[in-house]
């Protein structure tokens, strides 16, 4: 479903991604973990080309995005992203946040977009907030809306970049619950997070990154209980 092959990315002189290879099969859940500045965001953002690698191939759903730019728009609809800072549209209501892209990008009718939008809002427990504005919601609620917004594109892939890192501790669980529920639906997921409970429960693989490289790929049990890589051991001893 997702293949990153030999990805290199520079910001100026800063070699941020060093020969990254990643393969995510359909329906797999992958959790990416690693110290701050290790390139996790840059890597996940390469998948939907918010960052363009300097070399290598990005193949999503069979399409090589480095070669065919024309299909980028289609892939961005298939691979929906949830951001650390939520990035809801503040000038739109919650429901409008969910429907604007389906209507304008996917050409859905307003009725259809609203109907499925309300269904997803119900799924994340926020149907009663449909007419509220994002600023009127708590951080946890905003992030759940952001997930519903992503789902209303009917994506095949969900990309999460530290979705709970900007949240107060008491709000993390409500977001993780939604994500676990989503994981059980069979969608393909790539998730940058340090929530170990989440990783243990849903991840097929945990990927450990440091200094722009993937240093270890393992099952969550193997990774958390018995990490092989020295940097991973150090890192886990700090966050545990």
């Amino acid at each position: 479903m997702i293949k990153l092959q030999g990805i290199n990315k520079y910001f100026g002189d800063n070699h941020v991604l060093k020969d990254i290879n990643l393969h995510v099969k359909q329906g797999e859940k992958v959790v990416v973990i690693g110290p701050s500045g290790s390139g996790k965001s840059t890597m996940i953002r390469c998948i939907n080309q918010l960052e363009r690698p300097d070399s290598g191939d990005v193949i999503v759903d069979g399409i090589n995005l480095m070669k065919s730019k024309a299909q980028l728009k289609q892939i961005r609809q298939e691979a929906a992203m949830v951001f650390q800072q939520f990035n809801l549209y503040p000038h739109k209501t919650v429901l409008e946040n969910l429907t604007i892209a389906p209507i304008l990008v996917q050409g859905k009718s307003k009725e259809e977009a609203c109907q499925t939008g309300l269904e997803f809002l119900e799924r994340v427990g926020l149907k009663d907030k449909a007419d509220a504005y994002p600023a009127q919601l708590s951080g946890g609620q905003q992030q759940r809306v952001a997930i519903a917004r992503a789902l209303n594109m009917h994506p095949k892939i969900m990309l999460f970049d530290e979705p709970t890192s900007a949240l107060d501790p008491e709000m993390i669980k409500e977001v993780l619950d939604v994500m676990v529920d989503l994981a059980h639906s069979g969608i393909t997921m790539v998730c940058v997070t340090h929530e170990m409970g989440f990783a243990r429960e849903v991840a097929d693989h945990v990927i450990f990154m440091a200094d722009g490289q993937i240093l270890e790929t393992a099952t969550p049990e193997a990774f958390f209980d018995n990490p092989q890589n020295e940097r991973a051991q150090q890192f886990l001893s700090k966050i545990l």
Partner: protein
């Protein structure tokens, strides 16, 4: 004694008799204002977006436009256009030259307003929209610009008021605007007092009404 009083009654009488000239000038001023405002907002949006565009060459074009028109006097720009166009065998009515000159000049300021407004919107907004499959222009139009509006409106209002006053540059090229009519009418009869007083009042009324109207818009936009 009366002759030395710049505001002598008979001079007001003369002004009143010549009111059609001044009304004509006022209409020309309003026409140039509206034309130049439309042009400057269009240029402002185009060059403002150019100022934050991913492509560096386009950002450089924004800088050249803005720095050129902001840093040379409007009077010179307008006189230059007025004198240069005939050499290129382009004959424009003086009204259009006024719209072009004032519009280009104000457009540079509008571009900075638009650029500042866009930059005040968090980068994540454009990214979220683009990640949903919006094109760059769709994201700008539906997501970024509506949010930038809040920052842009008050600054655009100031530019609009400056624009109204700046249309008086047309007097320099016999533009037939209010300032020109006041100049030429009082230049022939020396009744400067009422001529400039009344013209000044007209500019003040237009600008004041505009700023009130814009205050109302701002309130509506929740600034």
């Amino acid at each position: 004694m009366d002759v030395n009083n710049p505001f002598a009654l008979y001079k007001w009488q003369a002004l009143f008799d010549a009111r059609d000239i001044f009304i004509g000038g006022l209409i020309t001023t309003l026409e140039v204002t509206i034309g130049a405002l439309v042009l400057s907002i269009l240029l402002g949006i185009i060059f403002g977006i150019a100022g934050v565009f991913p492509n560096k060459i386009i950002r450089v074009i924004n800088r050249i436009y803005v720095e050129f028109f902001q840093n040379t006097p409007l009077v010179i720009q307008v006189i230059f256009i007025y004198n240069a166009l005939p050499h290129l065998h382009i004959m424009l009515p003086v009204l259009l030259i006024g719209i072009l000159g004032v519009g280009l000049y104000t457009g540079a300021y509008m571009a900075e307003v638009v650029r500042g407004g866009i930059m005040a919107v968090p980068k994540g907004q454009l990214e979220a929209a683009v990640s949903q499959g919006f094109s760059y222009w769709q994201a700008m139009w539906y997501i970024v610009l509506p949010q930038a509006k809040k920052v842009m409106l008050p600054a655009m209002a100031n530019q609009t008021i400056n624009l109204v006053k700046n249309t008086s540059v047309l007097a320099m090229i016999a533009g037939g605007d209010l300032m020109y009519q006041a100049d030429s009418w009082s230049g022939s009869n020396m009744y400067y007092g009422p001529a400039y007083f009344v013209s000044g009042c007209c500019y003040w009324i237009i600008c004041f009404a505009l700023s009130k109207y814009i205050n109302k818009l701002e309130k509506k936009a929740g600034v």
